[in-house]
Symmetry: C2
Subunit: 336 residues, 2 copies
């Protein structure tokens, strides 16, 4: 609920998939923001009104453009919500033109949570570009972006001699959208899922980034980072809105990432995301003096939370110094 | 574990009570910091070596001075840990001379968590002074400073349409120091405790500040803030290291603060702190879409956590813009 210099922030949406549309709906409700338009590559969407796409009458005169340049020419946004994929390299190439106009960009791109990990050179160039043009970029979200990285870092602030960080997250994927159920391998032959994960085409994106962000904040050099992912196998038939999974087939994943630093296992992130998972929750343990153990009942999950994390970051991003930033460079998260 | 410009931060300690001594011990272990000296008004402490007072041999050539001016003349600190009382007015008068030298000051003063509440004019003057001289001041701690304010604000970052924030904290005071056991009324006649609380001489300090910080971050104007405190009465004899409490006498407190905004009850903080309390914990509920509910098992408590919160804030404070700052103006807390 922050008033930015007394006027509303002009926000553009880059990517008009389900998350992009939810972002637009949320921004439309914010007194500090206004939606000025959107960008998508889908010819079916270009030229259509956001009123029509979102069902919000007040957006009938806001449109989808085929490129950022057109959006810029027509609407001059001050901030962009970027929800267009998981790859840092691709996102950076999409974001660079926005940075040249000095905009603030909050992105759901999982790899942008800690861009140096997979795109060190492009990240450096984008950071320089941001600083030159007064632009700000941050990767935001719930996971990655909060429960398995920012929250444990935050809890480490009230302890000392931190020796390890452990996070366990269990998500009941039955309550999530079709694309997420597909990403976790629903209905697949277990061997096929393993091969897809090995090829980088399935699994939870941004897991290594969560671990790298924690290591960065706690000053732990990464000697070794090992990520594994095993399919969870359906024991009986599972029926969701999107998939029917017979017994013996994949109904989700169990993904882990472990980081060693200075010869010790310091970070362990454990994610179970499968259909009909019982007791969904997020559990964080910071092994320090004193030890801290926190549980988020039910876990933080769902598109509403994801979109909230991205939109809520905008006012803090606008108050930060220019650059390609980390969530932990921004002030404490808060509802905005 | 942050390296500040490649050299260690020269830290002075203002106030050499039990918390001050713990601060010094913690700073002495930090690779990014060094203890340069301390200040206290107690003639018994002035001139003594911090090696002697802390038991740390490496501090034998660091001393307690009778005033900040002497500490400054002799040691030129860059940052000060201020642990010398709960009153914003008193703390601000002690901190102003430090701000004139452009230092970074992290204070345990409870009222400095949200100084505008009780000392609006002095706060404004200190903020101007900080900006003029490049100084930074923040009030830090566990409670106030984290579990009942910063943590719920942080959790609000992954939700939206926030309608209310509720925090319940239960502390087993039997595990805490004598002064804290005294502050919560241990052994007192219940009526005497009520009178002392009404006179501002007993109870948990900084509770209103926690509520005001939440309201500030969530953009809720405060229509009404009501704070109450009732003694918890011992049912049978309670024996601790510091107090023997007979049945019928006070063994702790149940303090509440409730904030109404725009006609709705928005914030409710509930603190039970008493001897032999069972199931100590911190529970945070953010009533938004989605709702978020988190439990810190056992609760975050104890001098180690308090001192950690203060010392850990220093690197973030040094990276922030000058001013009298709030914890929520600083980047996400983290172990440093």
């Amino acid at each position: 609920m922050i008033n930015i210099n007394g006027s509303t922030v002009r926000i553009g949406q880059f990517g008009v998939g389900p998350i992009g549309l939810e972002s637009i709906r949320l921004v439309a409700k914010k007194p500090w923001a206004q939606v000025v338009g959107a960008v998508d590559v889908d010819p079916e969407k270009i030229g259509r009104s956001l009123g029509e796409l979102t069902g919000l009458e007040e957006l009938k005169d806001r449109f989808v453009y085929g490129s950022f340049e057109e959006l810029w020419e027509e609407t001059e946004p001050q901030a962009i919500l970027h929800t267009a994929g998981s790859s840092a390299e691709t996102s950076i190439s999409q974001i660079a033109p926005m940075a040249r106009h000095g905009l603030a960009i909050a992105s759901s791109c999982e790899q942008l949570l800690y861009p140096e990990l997979r795109a060190p050179e492009s990240s450096h160039r984008l950071d320089v570009l941001c600083k030159r043009h007064g632009a700000r970029v941050v990767g935001a979200g719930v996971n990655p972006g909060f429960v398995m990285d920012v929250l444990p870092v935050c809890l480490s602030g009230v302890t000392t001699n931190v020796r390890g960080v452990f996070v366990e997250r269990v998500v009941n994927a039955s309550t999530r959208r079709g694309p997420l159920q597909r990403k976790i391998g629903s209905g697949m032959d277990p061997e096929e899922f393993r091969q897809l994960f090995a090829a980088g085409a399935a699994g939870h994106a941004g897991f290594r980034e969560s671990a790298a962000l924690i290591a960065h904040c706690l000053g732990w050099p990464i000697d070794e980072m090992v990520e594994t992912c095993e399919p969870v196998i359906a024991k009986s038939v599972i029926v969701t809105e999107h998939f029917d999974v017979p017994p013996g087939k994949t109904c989700g994943l169990h993904q882990r990432v472990v980081v060693k630093s200075d010869g010790e296992q310091r970070i362990e992130l454990d994610l179970k995301m499968y259909l009909d998972a019982e007791d969904p929750h997020d559990a964080v343990r910071v092994d320090g003096d004193p030890p801290i153990e926190a549980i988020v009942k039910g876990g933080v999950a769902g598109d509403q939370a994801t979109v909230a994390a991205i939109v809520n970051s905008v006012p803090r991003l606008l108050r930060s110094s220019p650059g390609l930033l980390l969530m932990t460079d921004l002030p404490v998260p808060s509802w905005a």
